[in-house]
């Protein structure tokens, strides 16, 4: 079978998406677990004219930089054609830069916060990889663990 990859926005006009990447996991307070939509995760700041950024989550302050990706990423979404139900992949955006936070976070203990979220730092990141099967594209409810 064939699954076509289309760019319905016409690649020159492909909107640019962004990634904020953290070396760790954000935990939401138990009281908010059922409805995290619209909840604030944290504040992203650029303190000076350098491309340096801070991200404050709960009482942690992370430091990071804007990174240009060596290879841009296409953002794909599965689409079901209305005429024959065939699955297609649509390129809905492109990512050329990300804001990457990978240093040890600083704990801000002197301020008082009401926070929704808490940041759990990982001392390093790990990757795992596998070869993709065709049905990965057909059945997207399968999440990778």
């Amino acid at each position: 079978m064939q699954i076509e990859v289309k760019c319905s926005c016409g690649a020159e006009n492909c909107p640019e998406w962004a990634i904020v990447e953290l070396q760790g996991v954000v935990e939401v307070q138990p009281s908010h677990r059922d409805g995290i939509q619209n909840l604030e995760i944290g504040r992203l700041c650029r303190p000076s004219s350098d491309e340096k950024y801070t991200l404050t989550i709960g009482y942690h302050e992370l430091s990071g930089t804007k990174v240009t990706l060596k290879k841009p990423l296409a953002v794909l979404k599965k689409v079901k054609r209305t005429d024959d139900g065939k699955v297609e992949l649509d390129v809905v955006g492109v990512i050329r830069h990300k804001i990457l936070f990978k240093t040890r976070p600083k704990a801000l203990i002197s301020r008082k916060f009401s926070t929704n979220s808490h940041f759990l730092n990982h001392s390093s990141s790990s990757i795992c990889s596998f070869i993709v099967c065709v049905d990965f594209f057909i059945d997207l409810n399968r999440r990778t663990s």
Binding site: E4, E12, L44, P47
Partner: protein
């Protein structure tokens, strides 16, 4: 009237944070509810094909997927990360009202992204598929009688569209694969012609050449095809015969094309015919083979490299058919078959049986390094290759 103050939101906000400013990063209203987005690494070389909508994923649901551009094939690897990758789309609204703060919302946390690894096209299945129903003289005869295209007789046959859906290769690579198999499109279906039948057509062509005093390196296409059609062969196959055993010479110039028969291809054909019965003594083979070669054509054993194997049994030299075209195109399988045939190979023989192996990123030396063990008994001796 005052213009509404445009405050950036979404991805634009994240990518354009001004010095001494900040924004709020939130979970989107639709966080967790939409279908997952997938992230795919884009190589420069893929971009043009993407713009022209000629990228497809190919494969059966349970197979490893490949991504195909017009001319290349890539394996797809998913690389997961333990980092939290917050995916932020562009904002849905252009302007926000005065007083509202800058917000970027996260639609999803991506588990990782997909990478592309250039890979050889998977063409072995093409061979198997087409070999199931070779076009034979029987079918040619029946085609004359049958006027209707009854669907049952077309079962198991593949159109180009069928092949594209079944074979994990780009369009260009698929076309090259068909060319390498000497496949021909008959009535919209891609077929391999039965070897015996091709032999009949070639023999008739050679006989007609003698009868009409044609030069084998200046064959007139129209004359050849007409004579073969008169002898009862379908037009398509008469032309295909020229294509399989010859090459077009330049300068058609409005007149009929001129072809020259390729000595090597013709001689290989007759060698295969002779060795069809099994192995034989080299002397006997040469006798029988040379008898079949058309006048004016020179045959020598070098032409049969990659087609036959010779070995000394006692004091005599024997020869048997062993064609590189019959071997798997996957390197691991290829070497497995080769070492089953012969545990030890010398480079001068082995090179002909791996010359068609194409693995992106691996030269033939690299292939040998990866799949064989090289030994050299003495400085002067020929290196010998064995299985790893």
């Amino acid at each position: 009237m005052e213009q509404p103050h445009s405050i950036l939101t979404g991805a634009e906000a994240v990518l354009n944070v001004q010095p001494n400013s900040s924004l709020s990063v939130t979970y989107d209203t639709l966080f967790g509810s939409s279908d997952n987005h997938m992230l795919l690494e884009l190589h420069d070389e893929i971009l043009p094909d993407l713009l022209h909508q000629s990228i497809t994923l190919r494969g059966e649901p349970n197979e490893d997927v490949v991504l195909c551009t017009l001319s290349k094939t890539y394996a797809v690897k998913f690389v997961g990360t333990s980092n939290s990758v917050f995916l932020i789309p562009p904002s849905r609204h252009q302007f926000t009202q005065n007083g509202q703060q800058s917000v970027a919302s996260v639609i999803e946390i991506s588990p990782g992204n997909m990478e592309l690894i250039e890979t050889a096209p998977r063409l072995d299945r093409l061979k198997t598929l087409l070999a199931q129903n070779p076009y034979s003289s029987m079918e040619a005869l029946q085609a004359d009688d049958m006027e209707d295209d009854s669907k049952e007789s077309k079962m198991g046959l593949c159109t180009w569209h069928d092949l594209v859906n079944k074979i994990q290769a780009s369009d260009d690579e698929l076309r090259n694969g068909l060319e390498a198999l000497s496949a021909v499109e008959i009535d919209g279906f891609w077929r391999i012609v039965d070897e015996k039948y091709m032999g009949e057509i070639l023999t008739m062509l050679l006989q007609n050449s003698i009868l009409n005093d044609w030069s084998l390196d200046k064959l007139d296409e129209d004359e050849v095809v007409t004579s073969l059609v008169t002898d009862g062969f379908p037009h398509k196959l008469a032309y295909h015969c020229l294509h399989v055993y010859g090459s077009e010479v330049d300068e058609a110039r409005g007149k009929s094309c001129v072809w020259t028969l390729d000595a090597r291809r013709v001689c290989v054909h007759f060698a295969r015919q002779v060795l069809g019965v099994g192995k034989m003594k080299l002397e006997r083979f040469m006798e029988m083979w040379l008898k079949k070669i058309p006048d004016g054509m020179n045959a020598n054993l070098e032409m049969l490299e990659g087609e036959v194997l010779t070995e000394k049994v006692g004091i005599e030299m024997w020869v048997r058919g062993f064609s590189v075209a019959s071997l798997p195109s996957n390197p691991a399988e290829r070497f497995s078959v080769l070492f089953r045939e012969r545990p030890k190979w010398e480079s001068k023989d082995l090179q002909h049986y791996i010359r068609d192996l194409k693995v992106p990123g691996l030269s033939s030396e690299g292939l040998l390094l990866k799949y064989t063990r090289r030994t050299q008994p003495t400085q002067d001796a020929e290196p010998v290759f064995t299985a790893r």
